[in-house]
């Protein structure tokens, strides 16, 4: 007396309901949630620190004093640059001890210049692997940030590639920084 034919209508109704609910669920689930990790704040902090470090090297300590950054590039002193940037007395490791400090910032510095033929050349200047006790420090877990500063030098640095011009010029020092 009771047939199964009406089941098809019921199932059709349920299926339509489920499709509507499923569509609603997908729409609501794609709403973006704002979390701090999305704003790349740790990258910005590292970039500001790197910019400050290069700016500090570019400000002489006294009137008519020596410009440290110019001296490091012009006189080819990568080790002095490394000490001033990255040693425990260097700029990247300065702290006031109000928070926990982990000394793990690595860097890789390159100098870009205009060649005698008008192109752009570059040479490796310094990196944190050169002077570390354990080799292979040029590895890391996070993406690097790039900071740079224009430096005016009065002559070609000693040991610079031959295609670099000999007169006074402006070079670009680029430093990649990352947390190792």
């Amino acid at each position: 007396m009771v047939g199964d034919d009406a089941q098809l209508f019921t199932i059709e109704g349920f299926t339509a309901g489920l499709i509507m609910l499923g569509a609603l669920y997908l729409v609501l689930n794609t709403a973006a949630v704002f979390v701090p990790g999305d704003t790349h704040i740790p990258d910005m902090q590292l970039e500001q620190l790197g910019n400050d470090a290069l700016a500090m090297m570019d400000i002489p300590a006294e009137l008519n004093g020596e410009n440290a950054l110019k001296h490091y590039i012009e006189d080819n002193e990568p080790f002095e640059f490394h000490k001033n940037l990255s040693w425990s007395t260097g700029y990247l490791q300065r702290k006031t001890d109000t928070t926990v400090f982990v000394p793990d910032i690595r860097y890789n510095a390159t100098v870009y210049y205009r060649t005698t033929s008008g192109g752009v050349g570059s040479y490796h200047f310094a990196d944190s692997d050169d002077y570390s006790a354990s080799a292979g420090d040029l590895v890391g877990r996070e993406p690097a940030v790039l900071v740079s500063r224009w430096v005016k030098i009065d002559n070609k640095p000693t040991g610079a590639p031959p295609q670099m011009r000999g007169n006074d010029q402006v070079v670009l020092l680029e430093v990649l920084l990352w947390r190792g």
Binding site: Q7, L21, V35, T39, M56, A61, L63, G65, D97, T98
Partner: protein
Amino acid sequence: MLSVDFLAGFTIFLLAFIMVIATVPGLLIGLNSQSIDYDAVAYRTAVVLTEDPGDGYDRDINATTKYWEQQVDFKSDIYRFGLAASSRAPNVLSNNKIEIFFNDALFTEDDYERKIIFADIPYAPYAYNISLTHDAEPSRYAIGTPVPKTSYGYMKRLVKVRDESSSATVNAAEIAGLDYVWEDAGVPDNVTSYSGDFAVRFDFGGLNDPTIADQYRINPKSDSFAVNITSVKTALDGIEAANSVDFSSVMLQNVTLYKWDALGSMWSDQSTHYRIENETFRLYESAPANLYEFDEAFSVRNATYLLLELDPPLPFSKREPSGKVRLNFTFNYTFAANTTAGLDSVLFTNHEFSYTYGDAELPPLSPGVLEVVIW
């Protein structure tokens, strides 16, 4: 045999269950919106501290000023804190501003919240900890509460600190050979006493030289000055030996302030308008304990040095950026016997020392670091 009804019901139940479980990860997201901006507030605070000199109101000149550290008598006249020595020299901080800012006896938490953190008082105050260290100062400057272990916003800036004081040394034993004399008044014949001046001159136009970068420029409005006259006793002994003179006394009579009057082309005495007091001028004789009281004469016959210290701002420097002032020290020499004429019988016969970049020693900039923590 399973009926279709059962399958349909079970399917709907299972789907609903899956959807509920799928929303569980959303419970773990920290959606407290206030904590998200701690890093932004820390960054903003650090930028204002290191790159802005601050803002205040100076009642002396009825104008806004960046020297808010000189307005602590009226805290409502300080609108915004800032530690930079000049907006044209970011990351170079002023030592005077640092000393006042980190003095938490002068300011309350409310002051810091309003004038540098810019919190929404009283609804959403932030907790803060601002600290600074630099090479020339062994201890750390800090204000605020101790930092929690997690969940704070943080910013670190590298800075150089400008010690806003300069000093110059004048060796009295060598003064005879130097070109300091402005008025060639020699000691006349047959006198038993003589008064001669030693003047220190500040030329604001020369000090405010715009070709010198802000971080190295001597600023009469904000810098302390020190002039150290050394070897006074040695010089007086030398004069006695070389010229057969016998001083019965050498007294510093008084100190007078003169201002250059451009209209009249003369130095005008400011004694009636400007009281020289120990709070802004200090004169020491031979030891830090011997502070000169400006209302009585004292003997300098056996002085190893005379040290003059001036606090900022120098008189008239705020209203007249290219003015000149001169501090005249009047010395009175009394001789045991009548003298013969000549310049060499006394130490100072109207000598003038001009405080310029060539003679002044400025301390170097001191590297440091500023950290701002907000939670």
